[in-house]
Subunit: 451 residues, 2 copies
């Protein structure tokens, strides 16, 4: 066991940094940090316990502080934000995208956020104001206003001249946005067209249609459109179709990653915990989850309690009852996972709920028949009691069928009532499979085995 | 219940398509399909049962077949591939990226794949050959050879002239790759520089450094670099540093999505199942998972069996034992999830294993103390037996500590032996928490409660 802890073969940059910090060799540590990309520094910080995080933070080149902040996950970032004086923070975030700055400011207490805003110059304030209006989880909150727009009726040559006048072209500019006189979005002009097409032709000749996103579109939908259409950037428009800004693929990748993270975490009731959140914060978050699960455990215990007399007469029932409940739990969670992912991907609609239910029930009947025979066989040999074998077989089939039904219906019902199926689905399913498992097995035994 | 199945409020394009197919209105169905993007058609097909999938497939404009194929997930795609004659398939894939075609060919039986290759023209064959050499899950397998390279010493004007001569510039071209005389990769020239910088300056003046990827880099690492550096495209090089091709963000997004999908699926033992895989295929895959879990359930049953006499004397033990095992399972799976994600993100290294273990153990001791008091209180009231309360409390603390330890160590040990912790971790953990839970509770009861 110690072997696994002590001699892990991967000696990474984090390890050498840790070593340097342990030996108080700040020069070496600083040089290790200096060679890293801001996103890598953020990764390193996230993988360290709280105290070590502070040490690394102080080694960062001040010019990179803003970049590192923007790459940190929210819960880790807030640790540092309160240590940085507002004017330094305003400075550090000067070169960040407006959506990243907005993200950071939303983590600050209001008073502090105001101080930072006051320390910003006019231009940055304006950039920010447009983004801060929209909720973080919508297209508006993801957008940046660093968008280059051109008119449809001008020549490519004029566009090229205009671009040369711009001090800097924003990163991830693959398309220029084409607008009319009133800034209504019309389409895009790919940069490549600008390069290869005749300079005297006009923008509208080469304009292409691309999806544009309303400010209130949920970020999950934004991600889906980027994925489906293989976009690098897309325009964001207001209610009247006027161009407000654009969303770029790097922010969408972050959305996709965060959603994937959340899907896994919420199934274990972990919330926003990171690896080294403070112990008390973690304890509290997990305690809630344990408490919820404890209630379902006591419900199952109460069900078992109804059959105390039966168990006293045939203790083999107590030995075997977790098998019945467990099989239902496993089978049900397979159906549940399929249903939750189907909902998340928007692939479960009215037309296919019935076929899906039919398929899941058929699979569970097949597997119920297969494994109930196996379990019955083992039980008959183990306890030399054919009736016990028959009863556990029937109980397993019943529990697997109910499990498939519950696994498919629970997430649909939860979605109906606006509850995230990924969080609540597993607990409710386990309650159902435990209760049904214990009740069917012990109930059948009470009726048929015990006089 | 029926309410949930019947009246789901979201009436989508899939529903209208389903309606049209049900009424045999092929004209309407065809017009619905015609309005969709190939990736949306792929989504629709994936959300339908097998028979309906065939119907939709025949409604697709032949010019879009290749595109739709490339957007389908592997298991669904293989359903169609064998229906399409090789020459038609060669034709359908003509306009796809080489990595997508390679992906499709790898799903075909060898003989069929050879037929498709024979039906391809010279140019496509050559494009493909370079990609098919590399495993699907490496940078080489993700790469396309549609890359524009320029020399470092030429002027921007010459580059612009060269680009105008090219028939088409590949999509997602944000950078041109800069190479030396022997095609060694040097850096990138952003298209934007080409647009705004003085035509007489040379490429090397504006060349920027960007990470380049060796062909054997695992795709997970490729995704990480794209994410960290916010890349749109990156060069792929051979052992000698020569430019071979490039990887674009759209393919990386697919990699990220697939990895996220897999993380969720493997925890439920689902493999590559899609929502409407054939019933027998699904049954078989899930049967294996149920069988593995059954073994651990019987191991737990065997542990309980060792205490039959104790249970006969105090049936309350049978009533309460699932509570002890369940609490351990929930707490352990929280630690397990944190550890598995940490490993997947490369954030668990030698330096932080011990602090992580310490944190998880501390949290579990705190939560163990909290919830063992609650459970003990309930048990004392319920069964009017203070000793039973004391014993269940101690058993829960023991199980929670072991659960935290197991949840952190199991995935590290599995990684050590090259086993995916996401697949095997949950089963092993449950075995540990069940066995320890039953053994500590029933064992303590045997020693202290039963004469």
């Amino acid at each position: 066991m110690n072997d696994i802890i002590e001699q892990d073969p991967e000696l990474t940059v984090i390890d050498s940094l840790h070593e340097a910090l342990a030996q108080n060799d700040h020069e070496l540590a600083r040089s290790v940090v200096a060679e890293l990309h801001p996103s890598e520094i953020a990764d390193v910080i996230e993988s360290l316990p709280s105290r070590a995080r502070d040490n690394v933070w102080h080694l960062i080149n001040p010019a990179q502080e803003g970049d590192v902040l923007s790459h940190l996950q929210d819960s880790v970032r807030s640790e540092f934000l309160e240590q940085i004086p507002p004017d330094k923070l305003a400075d550090a975030t000067k070169n960040l995208d407006a959506d990243d700055v907005a993200d950071i400011l939303q983590d600050l207490p209001d008073a502090l956020a105001n101080n930072v805003l006051h320390a910003m110059d006019e231009q940055n304030l304006q950039r920010l104001a447009s983004v801060l209006t929209y909720p973080e989880d919508t297209a508006g909150g993801l957008m940046n206003i660093d968008v280059i727009s051109v008119r449809a009726d001008v020549s490519l040559e004029a566009v090229a001249r205009y671009m040369r006048l711009l001090a800097d072209i924003p990163p991830k500019t693959d398309n220029l946005m084409v607008v009319d006189r009133d800034n209504h979005y019309l389409g895009v002009l790919p940069l490549t067209k600008l390069l290869v097409k005749a300079p005297e032709t006009t923008v509208d000749t080469w304009m292409e249609e691309e999806p544009c996103l309303p400010t209130n579109m949920p970020k999950a939908e934004v991600a889906k459109i980027f994925e489906q259409r293989d976009l690098v950037s897309a325009a964001v428009i207001d209610d009247e179709g006027r161009l407000l800004g654009r969303i770029t693929i790097d922010d969408v990748v972050d959305v996709i990653q965060a959603a994937a993270e959340q899907a896994v975490r919420s199934m274990a009731g972990l919330g926003e915990d990171d690896m080294f959140s403070p112990v008390l914060v973690t304890t509290k978050r997990r305690a809630i989850w344990l408490g919820i699960n404890l209630m379902t455990a006591f419900l199952a215990a109460w069900v078992i309690g109804q059959f105390e007399d039966t168990i006293r007469e045939l203790v083999a029932l107590a030995v075997l009852m977790p098998v019945v409940a467990g099989m239902g739990g496993i089978a049900g969670s397979q159906t549940l996972t399929i249903a939750i992912r189907g909902i998340a991907l928007g692939q479960i609609v009215k037309a296919n709920i019935k076929p899906l239910l039919k398929k899941e029930l058929t699979v569970s009947i097949f597997n119920g028949m297969l494994w109930s025979c196996v379990v019955a066989g083992i039980v008959i040999v183990w306890f030399d009691n054919p009736f016990l074998g028959l009863i556990i077989g029937i109980a397993i089939i019943i529990n697997l069928i109910i499990a498939a039904f519950a696994g498919a219906i629970i997430p649909l019902a939860l979605r109906r009532y606006g509850i995230d199926p990924a969080i609540a689905g597993g607990v409710i399913l386990t309650t159902v499979t435990d209760v049904v498992g214990f009740m069917s097995f012990l109930g059948l035994a009470t009726i048929f085995l015990v006089a």
